[in-house]
Symmetry: C2
Subunit: 311 residues, 2 copies
Amino acid sequence: MTRIVTVGAAQLGPISRSESRQQVVRRLLELMHQAKAAGCDLIVYPELALTTFFPRWYMEDQAEIDLFFEREMPGAATRPLFDEAAKLGIGFCLGYAELIEESGRTNRFNATILVDKQARAVGKYRKVHLPGHAEHEPWRAFQHLEKRYFEIGNLGFPAYRVFDGIFGMLICNDRRWPEAYRVLGLQGAEMILLGYNTPVHNPPSPEHDNLANFHNHLVMQSGAYQNGSWVVGVAKCGKEEGVEQIAGSAIIAPSGEIAAAAVTQGDELIVARCDLDLTRSYKTTIFNFAQHRVPEAYRPIVERKGAVPPP
Amino acid sequence: MTRIVTVGAAQLGPISRSESRQQVVRRLLELMHQAKAAGCDLIVYPELALTTFFPRWYMEDQAEIDLFFEREMPGAATRPLFDEAAKLGIGFCLGYAELIEESGRTNRFNATILVDKQARAVGKYRKVHLPGHAEHEPWRAFQHLEKRYFEIGNLGFPAYRVFDGIFGMLICNDRRWPEAYRVLGLQGAEMILLGYNTPVHNPPSPEHDNLANFHNHLVMQSGAYQNGSWVVGVAKCGKEEGVEQIAGSAIIAPSGEIAAAAVTQGDELIVARCDLDLTRSYKTTIFNFAQHRVPEAYRPIVERKGAVPPP
């Protein structure tokens, strides 16, 4: 059997701070048209796809920070994306900064939504693994203040039935954490959509900057294989406001093999015809969880946050 | 700082069913001498290193099965290994089938022991992730009856302080399960010793036999990187009793990079000078668990064994 979902991974080049939402949405629409022409059922945009990657700056004025957030989805600037998607009959996945009033207070998340071919929002995910730091660290060449500007996502790792399959979402740093893929795998996820913004240079560990691209693929390939799932990794890349970000967008098969890969540092659509039934050869054999997992041996994973060395 | 542990991964070629323990131990001793000459602190042998990989056969006579098990470690045949190790001042890690009377009954495990430079057994691990099946399946070209001949290990994933570092052990199929590495990572493991016997052909999923070597490295490299640990993967390989097994023994750095790799399908020692302090650049930054993990989001990992798709 085959269950083909044709997916476009819409890599984005840099977005400057001065670029308006409207300008960015025009770039997203151009990629959406390319995806439709390529027969895509679904187009996947990166993390925080509507603005520059603002956590690189320390800002104190909350009003200034909030300019990077969306208070509505769709809002005035993003409405054309939904309208065009409905017209074309294409789904999409979009990362953005979400500002929302919930439980009587203002919450800010690094979020992504999944939109079906009728332009209905059918899924949402809020980033769990916020990298970086919460306080200004002037010694860094640039900041990575996700722990300051966002709260930890409060939706867990939900999976959704859509596009004739089971879909999950992760965001950027989540991809380095096998726990994140596994919680999706335990819901039978067949395709994981994953946008990222990853600077080449990590100020606390510059000694492995040269491995940034290798690590990017390594974790997505193993996450795919170990859960028998497709993984669609989509970068915002190139030199953005003076900071070099890795590209390397890739559509990865349940085998862990790279089925499609970006070859530029800019706006670029890559496409793969993804057979969701290819997941079965893993999920029903070597990664048949019900047959082979031993949860009682895994308890430290939830009972312990940090490492505790033996005495 | 550096904390160098020089490790030898002692890949073994095939062991025939007719080969005696004494004959095998002679091969192990030859590799141990090579390791000593190369300045090794520690030599790592594969899974079930003393016999042929017997779970490939269906046997009904328990006495026949038990011939492949060790009732003592060291026993008469393995004593020379301990004696020589003590004389040379080299540690070792050895996989074997363990038969032991515990809690008033006979238990059988796929086990490995860690022996220090004074030939003291300082650590033990019993394989948790038993692959294969429990009943005779004559349609297979060969059997993989680990679920029949062994019990699930009852020691968890213990880590030990030895060789000036923190060491853990895994066995074969464990390496495909990120939970196993993570439980070791949560104990600060700096080096994970891992022997395997992996047929190229997996009867239930022959469609990805061609990827066996790729998957072998992929899971060990990601397990190393995602826990900031060295991983020493050691094969029993080549055509054993008519079954082709993968080679690909490798010593993998905490970066996920392959620092040393076997290039034959037979008995072969590979060596790396492993700096345990290279783990720090990962364990204290991007994989600083205490800073970045979110255990409350991981609960399905222990609360669920098999996958439960969304409604």
